[in-house]
């Protein structure tokens, strides 16, 4: 549990009254969280370019709250934070932390859901995962909270070229600036889900001092 975060936002008059999560400056979190989240640190992507990790996070107090909080009309917070045993141990218990940009991803997925007209399922380990997650080898937008691995849309499992390429096209036509992984087996490709992301987006809440 964070003892005394420097910044605790969302108390402003213009904040959404239905979004009760506290904003936390990752640099003020206890050492075990800072080690796992690496707030504000640089991390190299697969091409060697340095990317700056998120510093500001929403604090999720419990699984119950994650089950109730809507990030968009058809997306609840829990859908973005399902991680398995490969996630760093401190980040598998509550309170949990997600980068503030997660709300942007939710809005995009809501738009995508409107376009496909049915349920969009984010896979386990396929929403936010920390830079310490065992799947996170290079800087991945998953650690910025702006990437989603979608394994199923409606009754269609995205485990073949036809389904992945069809929904990938819809995503790119619907969401300006979205990036989707091409279908295929090698590293950088995907063959059993649709990966889409917004890049390395940082979200800095208005009330933050620095």
């Amino acid at each position: 549990m964070s003892s005394s975060p420097v910044f605790a936002g969302n108390a402003g008059l213009n904040e959404s009254p239905n979004f009760p999560l506290r904003v936390v400056d990752g640099l003020t979190l206890p050492p075990e969280y800072r080690k796992a989240l690496r707030p504000g640190e640089e991390w190299k992507d697969s091409t060697g370019r340095a990317r700056q990790l998120p510093r500001y996070f929403y604090e999720i107090p419990s699984w119950d709250s994650a089950m109730k909080i809507e990030l968009a009309t058809h997306f609840l917070l829990w859908e973005f934070i399902q991680v398995d045993v490969r996630e760093a141990p401190p980040l598998r218990t509550f309170p949990r932390y997600v980068p503030c940009a997660i709300t942007l991803l939710a809005v995009c997925l809501e738009r995508f859901r409107e376009a496909v007209g049915t349920l969009v399922h984010i896979s386990a380990n396929g929403g936010y995962r920390s830079p310490s997650h065992r799947f996170s080898k290079n800087a991945t937008p998953h650690a910025w909270g702006v990437a989603a691995n979608i394994y199923r849309i409606g009754d269609t499992y995205l485990d073949n070229r036809s389904a992945i390429e069809r929904f990938s096209l819809i995503a790119r036509e619907t969401l300006p600036g979205i990036w989707t992984r091409p279908y295929g087996a090698p590293t950088g490709y995907a063959e059993d889900h649709l990966h889409l992301d917004l890049g390395y987006v940082l979200s800095v809440p208005r009330d933050v001092n620095s």
């Binding site: 398995d84 045993v85 386990a124 394994y151 063959e191």
Partner: protein, 290 residues
């Protein structure tokens, strides 16, 4: 019968002859049997150091590896694992998938994209021999860690774990998981005696083995009162069964029956059941006094 042969030795010789007769009549290419009776201390090792393709019996060492991780605190029984049907072959890391049709129940395949608990995966790996559950568990704990566990427990002799299951590329290259009857026997004796990590963890593993749903082998011709904690294994060229038999009013016995066949051969389960029945009769009907 040689003049110096004890009654026990004579009985053992008779048992070997019976198994040999079953083997000769079965049409199997090879049969191996290992037996340890906790009640009498009697042991039988019939070609028990011969290597066989492990098929799904390799899931017993993997179960041991999973519980070793639990014992070390690296996993909890309720730790969650992402169910994803994508694995890398030991041959050049080429991706492959587990065919859903080969798993006897669809519970694990139905959870693709979601998560399942370690103890659920262990249960499905053993009781319905889910290949998907097996590869998921092995992906979390690692084959090297399983092999280290076997070595630490001094049960690595007779077990060669090299890869997950349904790695067809590895199969084509002859890279296979292999076992001997004695190798599997040592693991099952350890489990049945409650010596794998702790009595409580051993009991949990035995409980899983008791849930076995494929009962055409060792249990098939045993009396109704018999309870068998076991694991089967079958591919086109082998059929195995290895387990612990609990009978009323006596200590259990551990039995491993490994068989190798031509792909078109029939009568595999019948042969395993016949050997199991022969051993049951030997242990329960023989004159114990010398």
């Amino acid at each position: 019968m040689p003049k110096t042969e004890t009654p026990t030795a004579a009985r053992e010789r008779a048992l070997r002859t019976q198994i040999e007769n079953i083997e000769n009549e079965s049409g199997a290419n090879a049969i191996a049997v290992a037996l340890h009776d906790a009640e009498t201390g009697f042991e039988l090792h019939y070609k028990a150091d011969r290597w066989f393709h492990a098929a799904s019996t390799i899931k017993v060492p993997i179960l041991l590896g999973a519980f070793a991780a639990i014992d070390r605190g690296e996993l909890l029984p309720h730790s969650r694992v992402h169910v994803r049907n994508r694995f890398l072959s030991v041959v050049e890391n080429i991706p492959f998938r587990v065919e859903s049709g080969r798993d006897a129940n669809s519970a694990v395949h139905n959870a693709i994209g979601k998560m399942m608990r370690v103890d659920e995966l262990a249960y499905h790996m053993i009781t319905t021999s889910s290949n998907l559950a097996t590869n998921l568990l092995l992906g979390v704990i690692g084959a090297d860690a399983v092999n280290r566990t076997l070595k630490e427990l001094d049960v690595d002799d007779g077990i060669e774990l090299k890869r997950g299951v349904e790695d067809e590329l590895a199969f084509e290259k002859g890279i296979n998981n292999m076992v001997t009857a004695d190798g599997l026997l040592r693991i099952l004796v350890l489990l049945s005696e409650g010596k794998a990590f702790s009595p409580a963890l051993s009991r949990r593993m035995m409980d899983i083995l008791h849930g076995q749903e494929f009962n055409q082998g060792i249990p098939a011709r045993l009396p109704k009162g018999a309870r068998v904690a076991h694991k089967t294994g079958e591919i086109s060229t082998v059929a195995h069964d290895a387990g612990v038999v609990y009978l009323p009013k006596r200590k259990p016995y551990v039995i491993v029956i490994l068989t190798e066949w031509d792909p078109a051969a029939t009568g595999r389960s019948r042969t395993i059941a016949a050997i199991s029945h022969t051993i049951y009769e030997f242990l329960t009907q023989g004159p114990p006094d010398e």
